[in-house]
């Protein structure tokens, strides 16, 4: 609990004490491979959580369990009061609450940028077309590319595509945003434009879970950092605690390799 108090001091945005994500004893196997081992984590509303860890440590798998893209074999996940079970109704309810941004953008190549963003609001939230378009245009404004609305994804740069992907996720007005290495597929000169959008988002008070290798970003915006290794959470703490004063040997090793 000390952690969440310190996070209040770190961030200008007051975090509520309300829990939005609870993960209890999560276990996942791919065949015989045990990829998530007893992961326990609670996340407060408005918290920005950065997940670090070496390759293959289970970061992607973990973040994908939260919106049900990866089913778990053991454990319990609860999001905003809804238990994530195998019932498709629960899974769809949770997916309406969470937006996800992928490493490879995964935009729909056969639709214009505007249609990509409007799809969810129209068909999932059942909004009228005009309202969905208004939301989409506002979001494009927010991520800084209003002039690209009528192009196709293939005509945009990687950084622009990823910003569209963020806008598409935000169009569902989610409580929670999940990012899985959103800048790893980008050329270096485009990373900043995406990180800037994410920083602005972090300050807006939305709950964010973010797998990334961008240490500068983690230090600047994270309320809390979780270090994964071998499918387990090795260490949790504020950026200061973790970067300047790591307690665990595996954290030190990871930081020495990456910094």
């Amino acid at each position: 609990m000390a952690q969440s108090q310190s996070s209040v001091e770190v961030s200008p945005m007051a975090k509520s004490e309300e829990t939005i994500i609870t993960c209890e004893g999560i276990n996942k196997w791919f065949g015989d491979m045990h990829v998530l081992k007893d992961v326990n984590l609670t996340i407060k509303k408005g918290e920005v959580l950065v997940i670090l860890g070496p390759s293959g440590s289970g970061k992607s798998t973990f973040i994908r369990t939260i919106n049900g893209l990866e089913p778990i074999q053991k454990g319990h996940i609860e999001i905003d009061g809804v238990s994530l079970t195998h019932d498709i109704k629960d899974i769809e309810a949770i997916r309406r609450e969470t937006g996800m941004v992928f490493q490879q953008f995964n935009l729909f190549p056969h639709m214009t940028i505007l249609k990509n963003i409007m799809l969810g609001p129209i068909w999932v939230k059942k909004k009228p077309k005009a309202e969905a378009e208004k939301i989409a245009r506002e979001l494009l404004e927010r991520v800084g590319i209003p002039e690209q609305a009528d192009k196709y994804p293939g005509q945009l740069s990687g950084g622009q595509q990823q910003r569209v992907a963020i806008a598409r996720a935000l169009a569902m007005q989610p409580e929670i945003m999940l990012f899985d290495e959103p800048t790893s597929a980008l050329d270096p000169e485009m990373i900043k434009e995406v990180l800037d959008v994410m920083k602005e988002l972090a300050r807006s008070g939305i709950t964010m879970l973010c797998v990334t290798h961008e240490m500068g970003f983690a230090r600047e915006v994270a309320d809390r950092i979780v270090l994964f290794d071998g499918g387990e959470i090795v260490e949790t703490g504020t950026p200061e605690e973790l970067f300047d004063n790591p307690k665990h040997e595996r954290t030190k090793l990871f930081l020495s390799q990456i910094l």
Binding site: R95, M100, F102, N106, F108, L119, V124, G154
Partner: protein, 400 residues
Amino acid sequence: MSVDLKIVENKQMIAPPKTSASLWDWVRNNLFNNWYNTILTFVAGFIIIGIAYNVLSWVLFEAQWTVITNNYRLFMVGRYPLSELWRIWSLLTIVSFMFGLCSGSFKGTILRLSGILAGIYLIHLLAPFTASSSKVWLAVQLAGLVIGFLIALKLPYNKRIAIIGWVITIPLVFFFIHGFGILPEVRTTFWNGLLLTVLLAGVAIILSFPLGVLLALGRTSKLPAIKYFCIGYIELIRAVPLITIFLMAQVLIPLFLPTGLTIDNLLRVMLGATLFTAAYAAENVRGGLQSIPNGQYEAAKAIGLNPFQTTFFIVLPQALRAIIPTIVGQSISMFKDTSLVAIVGLLDLLGIAQSVKSNPEFLGRHMEVYIYIAFVYWVIAYSMSYSSRRIEKSLGVGER
């Protein structure tokens, strides 16, 4: 003046380096560049000239094309009653109008297809052997094309209207041909010639497509009953030659039907062709489905689309786009394969050809007959493959 000169200079600088300055250079570089190529050129040249001379002299002087011109109506519509022929012309007018409408709305490929169609009408209009009543109707066709085109240019929402128009046109076509009690009925045994070929191919191609999509989706279903039914159907049909299916439709099905119940002969054959094509369409669609990366499914799930929406908004549009060339290729072979119905006794274009050449009046004129119908098949099949190539190219935008 000096400005003009500059432009000319610039143009020369931009132009790509010329590899062959003139026809003569090209000939020298490619045909006569050394002694054995020179010999090859002469040998090949003599063979080609010999063949061309023989073919041309046959086509122009020896062949007696009266076997075609005297039987033109047979080739087109077969034994369709003369008194009801206006119905065929009328439906053709609707189709011409729709082609015009689509050309004006979509431009591009369909516009060029309409151009080909107009060319065909024009040639027949100008041909000396065409009956004067047909000439009037042919002029009406040309007018239909042009009027449709002009209307589309003025119409708002013309693309949607064009698509709805086709949906209405298709039942209308059958109404005109058959009559359905409102017009005097013309039984299906009188639908012959090119009319039958186009109808059969059209029905098989259009109906097999949605069926194929359903079968392909069924094959990927998680429900074992649906999945194995689809796999069983597809694999069974693909293991059977089309001619067997036609024979079964013709001979076996009537045997199994309870006495008193009959299904129209043509209907059975159409059903057979559709079911056959659907199995192949399903495999093509499955190929398209497999080409969709997993990330597309995940992104669709992540924004909360349900499986149905994911399939219809995300997966199918991309999968179908990817297989347009394959679908057209399959349609071309279906179009040609309809000629197999001649073997089971139907008088399609090939069936008519066979009956015409065995008419004692035109004894020995089979060459002319076969060359003519081959040419008809070629024009239609080539138009299809030409549009496929154009669509493939124009799909660049919108794809990744």
